[in-house]
């Protein structure tokens, strides 16, 4: 009797979870459709004259780099070539142990420079500030290793402009990425942060650091991630934006108002999910201060990044992401306790907690439960089959609706073959890939729960192929350390 009750309860819990999850995603999908149609009706972004761009606020592009010798030079070169009226590039070398610094020095004729700027966020010691003699808008901060957040904080300290854009050292942007991302700041003065859609660079042809031709990757693991990214960005994030309840702006590309981030205390250095944690803290900070604010997501594909093509790298990445998510939610749990409501408190936070944080536990339990039920006979084969069909049906509907959103909006992937391949992946991902990512997410959750690696910021490592990069340049010796003064106590 008690076994039967336990089975009944388990069935209903799993069923309720899956219904909640998919209904939630379908609603986000609907919200994303409305947002995209609104964008489609507003083609002004494409048609604004150059004069408008010339009056856009200047932006400091911050590039934290740790052992990025393979990509850093071409990334910086591309960032210097962005089509934007006024921007500076600040590379922060976070104590790299490879040739990152030497390659930067050689490629951009860097010289040590007596930069005097105000240190408003505490960071690991700065070794030297370098300025390029060939590119006046390029500076490089060389500092002791302190993690990505620490490097970003050092970049914020050195940034001269009211907006800063954080970019990963392996990110590939469009020439007009900054212009598109800054537009919400022009349109609405209460905008404090803007994120954009990140796509996968695997399979694309990249020339001089910019995407020349979009293509699909060859390896199945990367192909599966293409569909996953479409789903995640096109409605997982765009869907929250109209409610001003966006919970994360990807670390690969995000534009922020510097003064608000400084007021909120900059990036936290004790988390691996610094991008998500900052966005949640900005919500809290602005709500606590009674400030009118907007955190915006634009659907434009403005950033391309390399996805892991090996299981080991992908697993490490997903475990890290899950840890970052849990750390961010834990650090900002007061968001649901503090006064003041709004969708971020009542919808986004609980949704993220239930379906993305503890979701893997229920999902994995569901898979194991139905499989075991079928094998050991405490569930009928029909029930197991029904669960699989529902799970497959909802999963495919969500993935294909993401493909449709992509088709009606940006139409990035050319040719009928691309559509067919992506549809194939939307089917295939349900047989193993989704379950595997659920396992990795669970591992991330368990590791956080038992404190493994908690409170330690670190750089995510990935085996990069970076096939678009130029031949590695020979290493050159670094220049002597410069003396940097700061007025932290002033």
């Amino acid at each position: 009797m008690s076994n039967s009750l336990a089975i009944d309860i388990s069935q209903w819990v799993i069923l309720a979870y899956f219904i909640g999850l998919h209904v939630g995603y379908l609603l986000l999908d609907a919200s994303a459709v409305v947002a995209l149609l609104r964008q489609a009706r507003d083609p002004s972004g494409e048609l604004l004259p150059q004069a408008d761009l010339n009056l856009a606020p200047p932006v400091s592009v911050l590039v934290p780099a740790f052992n990025e010798q393979a990509t850093v030079v071409s990334t910086v070169r591309a960032l210097l070539g962005l089509n934007y009226s006024q921007h500076e590039v600040v590379v922060v070398n976070d104590g790299s142990t490879d040739d990152t610094m030497a390659r930067l020095v050689a490629a951009f004729s860097l010289v040590a420079f007596p930069e005097a700027y105000r240190i408003r966020l505490a960071t690991q010691p700065i070794r030297a500030v370098y300025r390029s003699t060939s590119h006046p808008n390029l500076r490089v901060i060389d500092k002791d290793n302190g993690g990505k957040s620490d490097a970003l904080n050092a970049g914020i300290n050195a940034a001269r402009f009211p907006l800063f854009c954080s970019v990963d050292a392996d990110s590939v942007l469009h020439r007009d990425s900054l212009g598109r991302a800054v537009r919400p700041f022009l349109e609405d003065a209460s905008t404090i942060a803007v994120g954009g859609t990140v796509r996968l660079a695997n399979g694309c042809t990249i020339v001089d650091g910019f995407v020349e031709k979009v293509g699909l990757p060859r390896r199945p693991l990367a192909l599966l991630q293409v569909v996953e990214y479409l789903r995640s960005f096109l409605f997982g994030r765009l869907g929250w934006s109209p409610f001003n309840a966006l919970m994360v702006i990807s670390g690969a590309f995000g534009v922020f108002r510097k003064d608000v981030v400084l007021d909120a205390g900059g990036y936290r250095t004790d988390t691996v999910g610094e991008d998500m944690e900052l966005v949640m803290r900005l919500h809290r900070h602005c709500r606590a201060g009674g400030r009118k604010y907007r955190i915006v997501f634009i659907a434009d594909p403005i950033c391309w990044t390399e996805a892991p093509e090996r299981l080991g790298s992908l697993g490490r990445q997903r475990i890290r992401w899950q840890r970052g998510l849990v750390e961010s939610l834990a650090a900002n749990r007061r968001l649901v306790l503090e006064p003041g409501g709004g969708p971020v408190k009542w919808l986004a936070f609980p949704f993220t907690f239930l379906f993305e944080c503890v979701g893997p536990v229920i999902e994995l339990f569901g898979y194991v439960f139905f499989l075991a039920g079928a094998i050991f006979g405490f569930l009928s084969m029909d029930a197991t089959l029904a669960f699989l069909v529902v799970s497959l049906g909802f999963g495919m509907t969500l993935s294909v609706s993401a493909l449709l959103l992509e088709e009606i909006s940006f139409h990035v992937y050319p040719g009928a073959r691309c559509l067919a391949v992506l549809f194939g992946m939307a089917v295939v991902e349900n047989f193993g890939y989704r379950q595997l990512t659920t396992v990795w997410r669970l591992v991330g959750l368990v590791r956080w729960t038992f404190g493994r690696g908690r409170g330690r910021a670190e750089w995510g490592r990935m085996d990069r192929t970076s096939t678009w990069q130029a031949e590695p340049r020979p290493a050159v010796p670094a220049l002597p350390v410069a003396v940097t003064t700061a007025d932290a106590n002033r």
Binding site: R41, S44, V389, L392, V400, L419
Partner: protein, 362 residues
């Protein structure tokens, strides 16, 4: 009476059947969505091919018109109009003088005014936007009222292009209509307002700006000052001076006016700026230093030298830049000034400007 166990089995069976049905329906929905995506792709490809054909056909015609060659253009099929109007608009915005007049005449001969008016009334967004721009280039007075209505459109692109079209049709009247709207910074962001006003004849904008300033509420004056600052035009100077005298304790207005003066002021304006070098608000001091750097003279070196020790980094940095620019100091003189300064923070600021100028020279 039914057996409870068999009732439970029936209920479970019904639930499983329902779940299976939901699953099958969702699979069908997924397939349907895929078909829609494929259809969208086909439709998009067809539209792209049609537009490309239109562009290939009409670009040579328009270029011939610009150069005063070629036969009369004939008639334009409705299906080619949207793409052809975009090409025509693009050329109109890049060609001026006689070529521009001939191209405008070509547009009129093709009946673009009439078709654009129709698109304005009931076209799709892309065609509507093209029509708004085209009517502006054509200086089409009959569409004035419809364009005015579009100034309050929900679509920011339509609003901006309608404003631009009105300025092209009648600059003076348009500026009078636009200024009160531009004060609403929620709907009209500064750069859009500046770019629209920048297209108007400066001689005509000046009086309209004066009238707009007189009628603007305090919050609107700040926005107006920012717009005037963005214009960087002598036409805005009288308005800026007036706002400056009326700013009082409004720090934001003062800073916006100083920003504008730095862009379009004359050396005589330095007298109004100097007292603000000691303003309690740091951002006003910052803007004042920047303005003095552009408008001031050697007599300002004393106050600027003092501001090298300001508690705000930006004020110190801009002061160092101002010292360097208005005195025309060479590297050696700047270095002497740096070494002579008692404040290490001032020395840092000068060192940075010095290194920057050396870097620029290199």
């Amino acid at each position: 009476m039914a057996d409870p166990a068999s009732t439970a089995l029936v209920a479970a069976g019904a639930a499983i059947r329902t779940a299976m049905a939901v699953g099958v329906v969702s699979l069908c929905v997924a397939l349907l969505l895929l078909l829609v995506a494929a259809a969208v792709r086909c439709w998009r490809a067809r539209t792209a091919r049609r537009d490309e054909r239109a562009r290939r056909r009409w670009l040579p015609v328009f270029l011939a018109a610009v150069h005063g060659r070629g036969d009369p253009p004939g008639t334009m099929p409705a299906r080619e109009r949207t793409a052809a109007v975009e090409v025509w608009n693009h050329l109109m915005s890049t060609v001026s003088g006689d070529g521009g007049r001939r191209l405008r005449q070509c547009g009129q001969d093709l009946g673009l005014a009439g078709s654009s008016r129709r698109k304005l009334a009931r076209g799709r967004s892309r065609a509507r936007l093209g029509a708004v721009v085209a009517l502006g280039h054509l200086g089409d007075r009959p569409s004035w009222d419809r364009l005015v209505v579009l100034l309050d459109d929900a679509n920011s692109g339509i609003r901006i292009d309608a404003a631009r079209a009105l300025v092209r049709i009648d600059g003076t009247e348009a500026v009078g209509l636009l200024l009160p709207r531009f004060l609403d910074s929620e709907r009209w962001y500064r750069s859009a307002a500046v770019s629209v006003l920048g297209e108007a004849d400066p001689a005509r904008v000046g009086p309209a700006l004066d009238a707009g300033i007189a009628a603007a509420p305090p919050a609107g004056r700040r926005q107006l000052a920012r717009i005037l600052g963005g214009l960087r035009s002598p036409a805005a100077l009288a308005g800026v001076r007036r706002l400056m005298t009326e700013a009082g304790d409004d720090h934001e207005l003062l800073s916006a006016c100083l920003d504008a003066l730095a862009g379009c002021g004359e050396p005589a304006d330095a007298a109004v700026v100097r007292p603000l070098l000691d303003h309690p608000a740091w951002f006003v001091r910052l803007k004042a230093v920047t303005a003095i750097g552009r408008l001031g003279g050697p007599e300002d070196l004393g106050p600027l030298n003092r501001l090298l020790s300001d508690r705000e980094w930006w004020v110190r940095y801009r002061s160092a830049q101002a010292v360097s620019s208005i005195a025309g100091l060479g590297a050696d003189e700047l270095e002497r000034l740096r070494l002579a300064h008692p404040d290490p923070f001032a020395r840092d600021a000068v060192a940075q400007v010095l290194a920057e100028s050396e870097g620029a020279a290199a």
